[in-house]
């Protein structure tokens, strides 16, 4: 059985994989959003998602260690590692204390931040291209990138909240007092910019350029207001 899902939240993904296993479907492979499942005894496996430091590469250390713990590495995809263990061998939790959980979520946050910045650079290049080249695809790409950037920043804020909660449990001061929300101005700036590219032909260049300036100002203020999430410790 093959199912298509797009998860960027690894906790939700873990939940889903374990629900599937409870229903008798064990996940055996992943490729670009397509999950392959095989039949298994209901509840035979427990799944967990880990993150590696390297792209598509796992150290032999990690492989050997997991093998020794009777944990199977089902799939590695970019930084994602999907692991499973037979439920009969007991509970399966990867991170069992607050310190290592915080370190784990910080690692994930760094990846999302890096990805968001990378996508923003792509978005700027895309916008420049889209204003010079007419056609559907540059616009579609720009809109798609805008959506991806928005979700990545939202994920960073979600992870910030998780880390804050963990820090509070540890008795450390959290960063909660800081504004840790993605600014709506950023989203509206991204949206306006995409709209301008979309209605390219219909309006005079004078209006177009003034709107473009407004969009850029909105995005800059948005990024400025959202800056906290990028350098929270």
């Amino acid at each position: 059985m093959i199912k298509f899902r797009l998860y960027y939240d690894k906790d939700k993904e873990t939940l889903w994989l374990n629900e599937m296993a409870d229903q008798g479907y064990a996940m055996t492979g992943f490729f670009a959003g397509f999950y392959t499942f095989e039949k298994c005894e209901p509840g035979e496996y427990r799944y967990q998602v880990d993150f590696s430091e390297k792209l598509f590469a796992l150290g032999t250390d990690y492989r050997e260690f997991m093998k020794e713990m009777n944990i199977e590495i089902v799939q590695q995809w970019f930084f994602w590692i999907i692991l499973r263990k037979k439920a009969s061998e007991g509970e399966f939790q990867l991170y069992t204390d607050i310190d290592s959980s915080i370190a784990h979520y910080k690692k994930i946050r760094t990846l999302f931040k890096a990805a968001a910045i990378f996508e923003m650079i792509l978005f700027i290049i895309e916008c420049i291209c889209a204003t010079n080249i007419n056609g559907f695809w540059p616009v579609a790409c720009a809109i798609l990138l805008a959506i991806i950037i928005f979700f990545m920043i939202r994920e960073v804020t979600t992870i910030n909240k998780i880390i804050d909660k963990l820090k509070e449990r540890k008795g450390e001061p959290s960063d909660r007092c800081k504004n840790s929300k993605a600014s709506p101005l950023l989203a509206s700036g991204l949206l306006l910019n995409s709209c301008i590219i979309l209605i390219d032909d219909g309006i005079s260049s004078y209006i177009k350029y003034s709107l473009q300036i407004v969009a850029i100002i909105l995005m800059l203020i948005g990024i400025y207001q959202t800056r906290h999430i990028f350098y929270q410790d």
Binding site: Q48, D50, D61, Y62, E64, F65, M66, E68, M69, I71, E91, Q93, L94, Y95, T96, D97, D99, S100, A103, H104
Partner: protein, 105 residues
């Protein structure tokens, strides 16, 4: 050394479990036995801790035999022992001072 202690519970028990050569699974088992399952070490937590302890030089790889599928074993170093003793000293002080509560002074 000051900023190395207090140790987290996980690090404390990992150092204790490698006072003699021990492998990953053995560490988990021993810690669970010693604490009557109160402290469990998840594989992610244990892997991260071992990596960082090796990097810090508190523990070292004792044996590694990939041919005979023997598991990788770890052993505490002199520096690791030093840190551990420092932590024990701190814990003793804690317990000693806790006596005040009992005596009601």
């Amino acid at each position: 050394m000051e900023k190395n202690i207090p140790l987290t519970e996980a690090l404390f028990y990992i150092l204790l479990a490698v006072r003699k050569p021990n492998h990953g699974y053995g560490i988990t088992q021993e810690v669970e036995e010693l604490t009557d399952n109160r402290v469990t070490l998840g594989p992610g937590t244990l892997y991260g801790a071992i990596q960082s302890l090796v990097k810090k030089g508190w523990i070292q790889i004792y044996s590694e035999d990939t041919e005979s599928r023997k598991k990788k074993e770890y052993l505490i170093t002199e520096e690791g022992r030093l840190i551990f003793n420092e932590e024990v000293k701190r814990l003793k002080e804690l317990l000693h001072n806790a006596e005040l509560m009992k005596e009601g002074k």
